[in-house]
Symmetry: D2
Subunit: 345 residues, 4 copies
């Protein structure tokens, strides 16, 4: 951490800052230039609330030098992490496609979607049993009943399964039924939920909050990891900007930025970020081309009658066409990807 003093800072002001630093068991390195005086702080910064230094007289600002996240930081773990969900490995060699309905509606619906997405190459079945909805009057999910359907669909098709959790109760239930849990965008800084997800023993997909910075997102991963759970996968799903032509703005550059900052896998959700099925194929290709480790795509047997997020869901035919088009992009990106139905031919 560096403290930058204002031009012409009084000597007593500089001394007061140094004294504060040293009284907290840290070391201060003074560097006096013609224009400005700079004080470097060396030692265990968790011992002082560094932002407080800005209230000292003549302090211009504080510049952090090291990141607050450690376990998620690539600097200390240069090798890419491979996360296992059921029998699926998410990491640098594979293209993992998670697909399924936004919300689990009935057992028949889920089973039919599970078979279709498996045939088209998905390896993880997604399906929402607990739905966080903007309005209290919208459909809120089948809850534990929905998890039970997920388990059966996973058993029958051989797909791994993932469900969003929104509460400690939901985590407790999910542990019994699914292979991976998801923390949604709205809960990215629900720290109680993050800690409990860390303790669950299950791998966690952590979606980016709509207005979360890259740093906040990695600190949220750190909450999960600091509970002893290293199996975190990040999911870029669009941020909120002024542009309204798409539901959110897919921050595609988050993919290479994350590859530089962390060893955790990162996948992209083109469905929620764009909000329209029309833009899903092009965004899925962009994600594969720029190095994403996977995709999360909403697929529905009948989008016009979906109970949630119909407009962004692909039909079976569209999803099948998309994975066929994606396959050569996966090869180019150096990732194995297998359309299951091809083996049958």
């Amino acid at each position: 951490m560096i403290v930058i003093m204002k031009p012409g800072a009084a000597e007593e002001s500089v001394k007061a800052v140094i004294s504060y630093i040293e009284s907290n068991g840290l070391t201060a390195h003074l560097s006096q230039g013609k224009e400005v005086t700079i004080i470097g702080v060396v030692g265990d910064k968790t011992r002082l609330s560094t932002e407080n230094l800005t209230v000292y007289k003549d302090v211009d600002r504080i510049v952090p030098v090291t990141e607050s996240y450690k376990l998620a930081n690539k600097k200390f773990h240069p090798e890419p992490t491979r996360v296992k969900a059921g029998n699926v490995v998410i990491g640098p060699d594979t293209m993992t496609i998670m697909a399924g309905p936004c919300a689990v509606e009935t057992e028949e619906q889920l089973m039919c979607i599970a078979r279709a997405v498996k045939d088209a190459g998905a390896s993880i079945l997604r399906g929402g049993a607990y739905k966080p909805r903007t309005s209290p009057y919208s459909f809120q999910g089948l809850e534990e009943e929905g998890l039970r359907y997920m388990k059966r669909a996973g058993e029958e098709t051989g797909l791994a399964t993932i469900c969003e959790v929104v509460s400690l109760d939901a985590i407790e239930a999910a542990v019994k039924y699914v292979d991976m849990i998801q923390i949604g965008a709205r809960n990215m800084q629900n720290f109680i939920l993050l800690r409990e997800a860390g303790r669950s023993g299950l791998p966690v997909l952590l979606k980016r909050g709509l207005c979360a910075t890259i740093d906040e997102w990695l600190n949220a991963a750190e909450y999960i990891m600091s509970e002893g759970n290293p199996n975190v996968v990040l999911c870029e799903r669009g941020i909120r900007t002024f542009e309204t032509a798409t539901r959110n703005t897919l921050d595609i550059s988050a993919v290479p930025v994350m590859k530089e900052k962390t060893h955790l896998p990162i996948i992209v959700d083109p469905s929620h970020s764009t909000g329209s099925y029309k833009y899903v194929p092009s965004m899925a290709k962009a994600a594969v081309a720029c190095g994403a480790d996977g995709l999360m795509i909403e697929v529905h047997n009948d989008p016009a009658h979906a109970l949630s997020d119909g407009p962004q869901s692909l039909t079976f035919a569209h999803f099948d066409q998309l994975t066929r088009e994606l396959a050569p992009f996966c090869s180019l990106a150096g990732r194995s990807f297998q359309i299951k139905s091809e083996g049958k031919a």
Copy 2:
């Protein structure tokens, strides 16, 4: 709700939309112009997932006509609501100042701050016992112990008390100790927490999420109210924008916008929105001048050693000066506000 068809939409496309609307028990009003065809939908819209209509052929877009929040909507409750927290009434006639430390640190600290803010005119003591922090390695609060100190400080000074809650456990504890609970910005769409706050019986201060629209914010209030709790106060605390000169951007126009859309009181938090004690006084005055029903201000006995948010905390002297300067603005705004220490003179 209105469905706007694309120019030159086929007759079958129009029929398909009408048929979908009617099959959901609603009525369709067709209006065919030269350029475009428009279909109005009349009836109970909670019966269909209206957004799905966008997947129908030749549909250009859907325009909602009515708001999804009802209980919070001024259209149905034109009179301003007065919310009572302990013996304090938050509403159109008074200026309610909530003040106190970001985090409760020790009983002595809290007691000394409580006395100071009371003398300067605050009527509600704020203090965080459960701190949601970006990094898992930052101070997370004293939890129930902190609540106990709040209760004692309230009893001794006669101030009403408010604490942020971050989990169902925290709500359960808060009910025993404080007069009002707060849902923080990061939990504004933690719907499980909102519902439980609604069931708690306590008045709720609902902070706006950093990237929440006015509509999402009112829908979050609706979650609390739909559990039978009408005592919700809104708190504008800054939104996230591209500007970094302040920590967040205080959306001051949210005050008159809310006065138009809802009957609930709205207060402003100049401390979190700006992130700097230097900007708190001017923003507090702006809030009073434009019609806010109250303020939430961070005050600390020793900002340089605060365990959280020191840079934005006012000292006792600054807070005292601020309330003296605010008093005539409150009069101009037609609101009663009493500096307690004045009575002593």
Copy 3:
């Protein structure tokens, strides 16, 4: 400027950076900590393109220490500047209200508005003769004819006058007719126009760009001032954010931030920032309360038939009521403000 090296930066990397700095005639101050190495750069930084240092091996990032704007910087000119437009002084002692139509439409319209705003207390008449419009098919202004009307309206009422300029030709014309020119939000970084405004000899109102940071805005002022024109007034008129309840988001905290960073006056435009006449009065009061030096408000004799921006224009009655309500806020803020018609009573 400070160069922060990556943890574990190689010695040669550090040497290369130092060598680059010194080869540009600057001095490097090395400070090696346990975690990171920091290099301070001292001397005339305009001599090197400092951002280039980020391409050097093992450089983590560059932290600027001094601002790039000098003439606009309060550090070097602590006293507040007073800008004179005609016989009106904009500065710390007065409340200057600029009012008038968005677009000049006819001479009669302008004259009638000029009289009304003067009676209500405005001291500067605004009116657009060159209108930058989003669509090429919208009304683009009366151009020089409009300027002529402005001159006459100013002469008759004694009001000073201000017009937006959008081109070098417009500046040339404006010099002949009005007392002050305005650079609009869309041209805030039209550097050719800024330089020419600087050379015009007229005082300049510089509106903030919709997505301009405070720093970019001050650098734009620097362009004008570096041509020898110190008479610049800043105008906050709302920034673009995700919120759509108002046309833009009034960044009210820009007022105290500017008071800290620059000696130039700052005024607020509540009309363009909110986009609705309903929100203008409350935002005008907020601006006065927090320290603004003036207001720019759109007033129209018949908003429903205005050729531009009708929805945000006040009627004469509304404007008259607003200035009466504003007067005591001006007193509280320590600023002289006189409603002309009061003298008649």
Copy 4:
């Protein structure tokens, strides 16, 4: 256009709106539902300032139905436009790479870069002669001298050439020397410049403003086209958001959105959007994969000593590697792309 009245709007209010519409020579279609009354407006909307209707009593809001841009609108020109710059065709069948330095510095520098980018597969040479810079004290370009170097570099290598223009003078000069002109992000709504670019006869690359919506961007294109110049290419170069890990946020979904809304070609600039050479290759691949018609990439012989934008410039080696990696992505995307140096082997 549709006018939505407030619930319970008075009959006279509805009549007043209809009367206003009809007095402007348009037709009103009334549709009265139980909840709300809706009025459709049919006819030539350029005849009234439709937004003014919001000031009428009981009007809730106005919903535009048709876009204000016509010439750029795909609805009226479904076939993709091919734009010719020199002998290069930008359109749906090819991958056009524009490459070169941010700023033209010397003739030798430019010539050496021109040869390198041509060998690596670029077909258009970019180079800034007029540099719009945030600070007036930064390097502002060689102006006409720089254009002369561009012409020579084009003649020697056979590359087409493109330069940014920032003023009417610059356009006048550019016409003599280069094959295509560029309107930069900061000038996207400099309507005077847009019109003049339209009259220049040269094809125009129109960069998106940092906070321009898709609709504003297309309206800016309409300004150019309405002067009789159909040769406009759009360039997505990143928008301003809250995220600071990259200089701007590349709005990659603008590519498929534009493919749906307009017939004009769209290219992507991964250099300015990310601000770092490290992210350029992955973003270039993403752009090709999702359907972009071209790329604009900054390349410099010595990024560490570039006079502008060094951190985002690729070296010759990096650019050469990038185009080799891009070639198979171009094939997959169905676009012809030829690395010139391959022919030599």
